[in-house]
């Protein structure tokens, strides 16, 4: 999933300052799962904003709603007819959702209420971990299903570096060294031969591309 965190309230208040009528829109998918932009968070943010407006005697009218996804047109379409009644949208989606909504309604400012972070997993309640950078060339099978691009601070394909100690990464003693995990899991799986391989330089063009990447699937088009 795509993870995100809500911006500090002060920043959001400053962002909506020029607007009187604000539509607060959440997204029930990824950012709902990571408790940053789902229905519950939309409700909380809406009341916090109204409370602040009352305390500072500012004129503010808000309405809250949550789309199933903000990055897919058929769901965004639910805003049609409603959005025109507002000066701005405060979006609790990831950056992709904010931009998708803005593309459909280019004349209304869509304000980002979240800081989009990373592709990750929910490890346990209240803990999300980054584990994929979308490099476009997945090689997890060579590294015991532990991503060196994401989880090694130096994205080493032939690790670990000399700083790996007691299973921890030199960069942050709270973070496990990805290569320590790779080596021990390969050992457990009896796949140590994979470690002897010298892996060639990565093809980052699949990640960096020539500007933004795109996927075209003719079989999906109608």
């Amino acid at each position: 999933m795509i993870t995100a965190e809500r911006k500090p309230l002060d920043e959001i208040i400053a962002m909506i300052l020029p607007f009187k009528k604000v539509l607060v829109v959440g997204c029930a998918s990824c950012v709902g799962e990571c408790a940053a932009g789902g229905e519950k968070e939309v409700g909380l943010l809406g009341s916090a904003l109204r409370m602040d407006a009352r305390m500072t005697t500012k004129e503010l009218e808000t309405r809250e709603m949550t789309l199933e996804r903000q990055c897919v047109y058929e769901f965004i379409d639910r805003l049609t007819g409603l959005i025109d009644q507002y000066d701005a949208v405060l979006s609790l989606a990831c950056g992709a959702g904010v931009q998708a909504v803005a593309e459909v309604f280019p004349n209304i400012p869509i304000l980002p209420a979240l800081n989009t972070s990373f592709l990750g997993q929910t490890k346990e309640a209240g803990l999300w971990l980054e584990n994929c950078r979308g490099c476009g060339d997945c090689r997890l099978h060579l590294f015991a299903d532990i991503c060196p691009v994401t989880r090694c601070a130096k994205q080493i394909f032939n690790g670990p570096c000399g700083g790996s100690q007691d299973g921890k990464c030199e960069v942050n003693p709270e973070t496990p060294c990805a290569w320590h995990l790779i080596v021990t899991r390969l050992e457990d799986r009896n796949q140590l031969d994979l470690l002897e391989e010298v892996y060639a330089p990565a093809d980052w063009s699949k990640k960096e591309g020539a500007g933004p990447r795109k996927i075209v699937r003719e079989d999906q088009q109608n």
């Binding site: 601070a153 032939n158 670990p160 000399g162 470690l195 330089p201």
Partner: protein, 307 residues
């Protein structure tokens, strides 16, 4: 006449090599480099020049190497993959060779979060092993990454680092084997304080026959004080100082601790000289270059060969 790597000459002649380290200054100051070079000249075969070590901005390694070359030293250009992508790295390899630099040491580099530019992006386009492979292909096959020809190719003696003290231990020698497979010709190790662990590592190295494929230079850093020993133990990743050594440093009054540090270094070198497969030492006396001549002399490593 082609300038040759002195380090390579000494090692190829079967002599016990000595290298040292020079950290460039935080400023556009040639004198600082030249001064360090002059302290080391005659006592070592080659001098490593660090590349923005610990992520701190310093005079460039390449520029400092040229200054040392002009002083008649044989510099080892340290290159980290943290700050440059493959275009810049390959370009600098050509540049270094063109300027007469004959040794390169391929490193990952300390993470940028340690230095004074913590908001920088870490490049890490290649890793250190891929850099070794890249230099080797450029030199021996005249090809850059992707297969295009470079002519004439760079002429460089290729080195890398190894840390016998990092974890997981059983894997350290596998990683060394990978570096050898990628094309490294010499290895400089992390500072050796735990001789037992180093011995164990060397025996694994010999079991794999790696000591016959690569020259291994043991890392030496003379301790300045008991405090430094404790700092390294507690704060520096990938370094291993056994407790008895710290006690030994502490048992000496503060005034005599530098001398004791040098004594420990000399004892370590003597042990390394006896170890099969160790081809030399790399003395990293950080901001204490004056210690190098003393260590080299007292360890019986003078005069340096003229090969």
């Amino acid at each position: 006449m082609k300038i040759e790597s002195q380090l390579k000459n000494v090692l190829a002649a079967g002599r016990f090599a000595v290298t040292a380290e020079c950290g460039p200054p935080k400023g556009a100051d040639p004198e600082a480099v030249i001064k360090k070079g002059r302290i080391l000249k005659g006592y070592v075969d080659s001098v490593n020049v660090t590349d923005n070590q610990t992520g701190v901005v310093r005079l460039s390694s390449l520029a400092a190497c040229v200054l040392l070359l002009q002083e008649g030293l044989d510099p080892v250009l340290q290159m980290v993959v943290r700050d440059r992508n493959r275009i810049a790295l390959q370009s600098d390899l050509l540049g270094a060779s063109t300027l007469g630099i004959r040794n390169v040491l391929c490193l990952s580099g300390d993470h940028q979060s340690f230095g004074n530019q913590t908001q920088a992006i870490g490049v890490f386009d290649l890793d250190s092993i891929q850099l070794i492979q890249t230099v080797r292909r450029m030199r021996d096959e005249g090809q850059i990454i992707g297969g295009e020809a470079v002519s004439p190719p760079p002429y460089l003696f290729i080195g890398a680092a190894a840390n016998p003290f990092a974890d997981p231990f059983f894997y350290r020698v596998i990683r060394l084997a990978k570096k050898v497979k990628a094309g490294t010709e010499f290895i400089q190790t992390q500072c050796i304080y735990n001789l037992d662990r180093f011995k164990e590592w060397m025996s694994q190295v010999r079991d794999r026959g790696l000591h016959e494929k690569v020259y291994i230079l043991g890392g030496i850093t003379p301790l300045k004080s008991a405090k430094m020993a404790e700092y390294i133990k507690n704060q520096v990743a990938g370094m291993d100082i056994p407790e008895p050594l710290i006690r030994r440093m502490k048992s000496v009054p503060a005034k005599g601790q530098r001398k004791e540090g040098i004594k420990i270094s000399i004892e370590t070198i003597q042990a390394l000289k006896e170890m099969e497969g160790v081809h030399g030492v790399h003395i990293m006396a950080i901001e204490w270059e004056e210690a190098v001549p003393q260590v080299v002399e007292q360890a019986g490593l003078m005069p340096r060969p003229t090969v």
